[in-house]
């Protein structure tokens, strides 16, 4: 006899007296993954099941472990780390680069010019939109909605085209450097981005019509995987997953870096609109409306961006930071990405640790999945939006 915790009012499933002709039910342990369409990479969940109900879930990670931190210590130059940070969260590489560049600039006391700052912010927010589109599309795909996935990808391609024009790459850019950028943006960058902003805004409504308020989708995600506020903070959850639980917390506003204090934007939080506060749907809808906020930031940045400025003005020739250490965090699409960098005054990093948001967010999974159905596990994993490259580093 097991209580189903998370579907609406509490129901106790009591089998009839003569059910099973005296046969007993037995707990079963099954593996979900490491290769399963819904685990978004190579994640293995060891599930203990009582019938359809999950009584215990143990995530096993490390299948994509590439020794990022050890590699950094073997580099003889801090700039050579940048392509590696791209490959952590490979669907939001710009944000990873930005975090690393800011950490290094703070450590070395470099001030970059305004043009660099504005281009960086625009790139980071475009990347946030692209990353959220992927997250929302694949989340729908997990639940069984195939069409929104294709609609999301059409828009994501447009963002990637802008990145390709600027950096030459579509996924892993190596574009934001310590003290500047790889190169200036092309002449039509401003008009391309403005055109994208105009064409993308109505698509958010389209996505809402297609997926967000779709009855089947709401049924599958509302009241599922509820993450209460206190639990979220204690586990160190960050990003949309934290804001989905109603916590108004965004590093862009609360611990500002770069030039985010110059822009007007709202911090979107979940409200429990169709179910309980902090359920899968809340985490989903936070991402949807965050894209709108990113558009606002991009519009303001395009207006304020200075037309002149050498983007490599403050790129140091030789990177030799003073002895010391720094912990610097930025808001990526998945949450708080922190870099802990220790320098011993040489050109080789002594230690670089990345505090990856997906790694921390995934750790809450055992706590919120107990009592849910196996099919809901898919929704819960999808709603946390993990990237395994970042979990395993």
């Amino acid at each position: 006899m097991t209580q189903v915790k998370q579907k609406g009012p509490e129901v106790t499933l009591t089998p009839p007296e003569d059910a099973g002709n005296g046969l007993k039910t037995q707990e079963m342990v099954i593996n979900m993954g490491p290769q399963h369409p819904s685990t978004h990479g190579v994640l293995r969940m060891e599930l203990t099941l009582d019938g359809e109900i999950v009584t215990k879930a143990v995530p096993h990670i490390g299948y994509l472990h590439r020794c990022f931190e050890k590699h950094c210590e073997a580099m003889n130059d801090y700039t050579k780390v940048i392509p590696y940070v791209d490959r952590m969260d490979y669907v939001a590489a710009m944000n990873n680069e930005l975090g690393y560049a800011i950490a290094m600039e703070r450590l070395m006391g470099i001030q970059v010019n305004d043009r660099v700052e504005y281009i960086r912010v625009i790139m980071a927010e475009l990347q946030r939109i692209a990353s959220h589109l992927l997250a929302l599309g694949t989340f729908g795909l997990d639940i069984g909605a195939f069409t929104p996935f294709l609609y999301c990808f059409i828009e994501r391609e447009k963002v990637l085209d802008i990145f390709e024009k600027a950096s030459g790459a579509r996924l892993l850019y190596n574009y934001i450097w310590i003290g500047g950028l790889m190169n200036d943006v092309p002449a039509d960058f401003k008009s391309d981005t403005a055109a994208f902003v105009t064409s993308f805004r109505p698509k958010i409504k389209e996505l809402n019509d297609l997926l967000s308020y779709n009855k089947i989708f709401v049924e599958r995600t509302a009241n599922v995987g509820v993450l209460p506020e206190k639990v979220a903070i204690n586990y160190g959850i960050s990003g949309p997953s934290l804001r989905g639980s109603g916590v108004k917390w965004d590093l862009r506003r609360d611990d500002p870096y770069s030039i985010y204090d110059r822009f007007e934007f709202d911090v979107i939080v979940g409200k429990g609109e169709v179910g309980t506060l902090g359920d899968c749907w809340d985490r989903y809808i936070v991402r949807v409306w965050e894209m709108e906020e990113s558009l606002k930031i991009i519009e303001q940045a395009l207006d304020q961006m200075p037309g002149e400025g050498d983007v490599q003005e403050s790129v140091p020739k030789k990177i030799r930071p003073p002895a010391g250490e720094i912990y610097c965090r930025t808001e990526t699409p998945r949450g708080e990405l922190g870099y802990y960098i220790i320098s011993d005054k040489s050109t080789t990093p002594f230690r670089i640790k990345a505090r990856a948001p997906s790694f921390v967010n995934l750790s809450v999974l055992p706590a919120i999945s107990v009592g849910s159905m196996v099919a809901d596990m898919v929704a819960i994993i999808g709603s946390i939006d993990i990237v395994l490259g970042e979990v395993d580093r």
């Binding site: 990670i61 490390g62 472990h65 020794c67 931190e69 050890k70 210590e73 703070r106 450590l107 639990v231 903070i233 204690n234 586990y235 160190g236 917390w249 609360d254 002895a323 010391g324 250490e325 720094i326 912990y327 965090r329 708080e336 922190g338 802990y340 220790i342 230690r351 640790k353 505090r355 790694f359 921390v360 750790s363 809450v364 706590a367 395993d392 580093r393």
Partner: protein
């Protein structure tokens, strides 16, 4: 909002000078060194005391200092209500690196401590699930130590190529 100096004064009144050590020189942000056996009490105090309220552990990292033959654990704390930050460090000898877990204080520490154990071989006493996390369970050695040599053969497979 308190500076690190003020926080140090608060902590040293509560726990005494012998438990803590204030380090300022040669760094961007000063930090406080805590004796290994007291880390959990200090952590609990920092989390619960009004006016301090360090409710979030931003990051927990292991560090290997081969010159001094020591291993360290660095805690980056933040208070969402008071908005102050604090860096704590625990330094331990390389051959006997163990300290109390803070998993019961901040759940964030659960996986981070497992990672520090996996990569540096630091033992966290009282951790409920003290296993490797990124490497396989039967992996040998601790990869992020500076003197790490990778094993030749793992389950019949050549590791180095």
């Amino acid at each position: 909002m308190k500076t690190v100096e003020e926080l140090y004064r608060v902590l040293s009144e509560k726990f005494g000078e012998e438990v803590l050590e204030f380090r300022e020189e040669e760094v961007v942000v000063p930090w406080i060194v805590v004796r290994a056996e007291h880390i959990r009490d200090v952590a609990k105090y920092l989390r619960d005391e009004p006016g301090l309220r360090f409710d979030s552990l931003m990051c927990l990292s292991g560090v290997h200092y081969p010159k001094e033959n020591t291993l360290g654990v660095t805690y980056h704390l933040f208070s969402t209500s008071e908005k102050h930050k604090l860096t704590l460090k625990v330094i331990m000898p390389e051959d006997d690196a163990h300290l109390p877990t803070v998993e019961q204080v901040w759940k964030t520490a659960d996986w981070h401590e497992r990672e520090a154990f996996d990569m540096f071989g630091i033992r966290f006493d009282g951790h409920p699930d003290h296993r490797r996390i990124l490497c396989p369970d039967d992996w040998e050695g601790y990869p992020l130590r500076k003197d790490y040599e990778v094993q030749e053969i793992y389950r019949g497979m050549k590791v180095k190529y």
